[in-house]
């Protein structure tokens, strides 16, 4: 029950493998979004608590550990297509993920 004491490893996320090919290290217990922001990646986000859906991204390969039920924010089709909320995703394995980082640039 207590995830405080689990022995999760650091993982690696390859962001936009077809275009930008950025490699991101996700320390154990950290979310994909926070790791990206701490690394200076301008990942779209708003609430950071899993309620707005702004940080959603598509996992192309690998396995994430969702911290909440994404069904409240994402549609069934999106979930089936591999979309996750980066602010509520830790990694179970190394992953490849697709995210439109230009969304934020467009707004600025």
């Amino acid at each position: 029950m207590f995830s405080l004491f689990n022995k999760q490893k650091d993982r690696q996320a390859l962001i936009n493998p077809k275009t930008e090919h950025k490699v991101l290290i996700i320390n154990k217990g950290k979310t994909l979004l926070n790791s990206a922001l701490n690394s200076g990646i301008d990942w779209p986000h708003k609430c950071k608590v899993g309620s707005c859906g702004t940080c959603k991204c598509k996992v192309l390969s690998g396995d994430i550990k969702p911290q909440i039920d994404f069904g409240y924010v994402l549609s069934t089709d999106e979930i089936n297509d591999g979309y996750v909320l980066a602010c509520q995703s830790e990694l179970r394995s190394d992953i490849e993920v697709e995210i439109n980082l230009n969304n934020n640039k467009d707004k600025k």
């Binding site: 995830s3 405080l4 926070n34 608590v49 899993g50 409240y72």
Partner: protein
């Protein structure tokens, strides 16, 4: 420093245990929870001018120990269950006609049986400390692992398990806007807000489940529905109180839940009263009131650093800091007393809201503020 930073958040755990001890002890000690509430209101008022920043080591890391703080928060679940068991035991003694006499249990003297007057004291004490315990339900609602489930159980002890979902999916997304039932608009008093906010959050939580289950092709009237499950978590409390006190037990439980939910909604009321955010715009520090004098910060595990909390919702309470959000200038206990007298509260916040309109509000927010003023609602 590390020991001090972590130990200072133990005021509620120790006070809750003292309250439980008082109820088990019986007699006038049944009132100890109420007396503690009064003493803490006094301390909070006397320390209203002392404000501290979050302490960090030379590397900029917090002194908070996550494992320790989480163990404390998890332990608060059985503590709050014990609080209800203590009151239920007294209800059982009262309705069973136990004689009021000195007894000894495990070498410790206590008063067996209880008078109606002291039963009221035990009920008020339980309600107040169950309500103050909601701070752990709030903190754990932001932990999406087992902490989220513990949060649901803690809130269920007050019949408010819907809070955990509504707080994260509704309040954090919509605060400062009419879509957030937990935000009190200008002109509303705490008594009206308690009902409107509670019912609004419960409805939101139901609608959230309905939308999700409909999307998934599942029945709303099923055990997939977290809104229904949340209320089922409250059944053990209902059974316990009816078994121990019959109708009087049910009345006592309604009393406990009313007090604890009133305290919860009073915190919501104080957290964002009268602040305005245009829908679609990001939540920023100016959309929350800070209450961060030293005693409030330690007692309420930094829940009063609302400005920082709402912008960094994923941040642990011991890392929250003063971010320059609008500040009431007094602590939650002191402000709570003011909210109980609506005219006094409005008088207190009038100049604070004027300052907010002048120095914090954006053009869009000022326009909405002016609509309130055109209706004669100034604070």
């Amino acid at each position: 420093m590390k020991l001090f930073v972590n130990a200072r958040y133990l005021i509620v755990p120790f006070s809750s245990l003292v309250t439980i001890f008082g109820i088990f002890q019986g007699g006038v000690f049944s009132w100890i929870g109420v007396i503690l509430f009064g003493i803490f209101t006094l301390i909070d008022t006397l320390t209203r001018n002392i404000h501290l920043r979050a302490e960090k080591d030379i590397n900029g890391n917090s002194f908070g120990i996550k494992e320790f703080q989480y163990v404390v928060m998890y332990i608060m679940l059985p503590v709050f269950i014990l609080l209800q068991v203590a009151l239920a035991a007294r209800l059982y003694q009262y309705t069973s006609g136990f004689l009021i006499e000195k007894s000894i249990f495990l070498g410790l003297g206590f008063e067996s049986g209880i008078s109606f007057f002291n039963l009221i004291g035990a009920t008020l004490s339980t309600g107040l400390w169950a309500g103050l315990g909601i701070i752990y339900g709030h903190e754990l609602s932001h932990n999406k692992k087992e902490g989220f489930f513990v949060s649901r159980l803690i809130m269920a002890l007050s019949g408010a398990s819907h809070f955990t979902y509504a707080h994260v999916y509704n309040h954090h997304l919509d605060l400062g806007h009419q879509d957030d039932p937990a935000t009190a608009p200008r002109g509303r008093n705490v008594y009206a807000h308690a009902w409107l906010s509670h019912a609004g959050q419960s409805k939101y939580s139901y609608d959230l489940e309905k939308t999700k289950l409909t999307k998934q092709g599942k029945s709303v009237l099923s055990f997939h529905n977290k809104w229904i499950i949340g209320y089922l978590y409250s059944l053990p409390s209902i059974f316990l109180f009816i078994w121990s006190g019959g109708v009087l037990g049910l009345v006592a439980l309604i009393g406990v839940w009313s007090i604890s939910n009133f305290l919860l909604e009073a915190l919501n009321f104080m957290g964002h009263y009268g602040l305005i955010r245009k829908s679609g715009n990001p939540v920023e520090h100016r959309h929350s009131w800070d209450n961060d004098n030293v005693f409030t910060s330690w007692f309420f595990i930094e829940i009063g650093r609302q400005g920082d909390h709402h912008v960094r919702g994923e941040t642990y309470f011991w890392e929250l800091d003063d971010v320059g959000a609008p500040n009431y200038g007094i602590g939650y206990f002191s402000l709570f007393v003011l909210t109980l007298i609506p005219s006094l509260f409005r008088s207190y916040v009038k100049h604070l809201l004027e300052d907010w309109d002048k120095n914090h509000a954006t053009h869009d927010e000022s326009e909405i503020s002016n609509k309130f003023k055109s209706l004669g609602i100034l604070s």
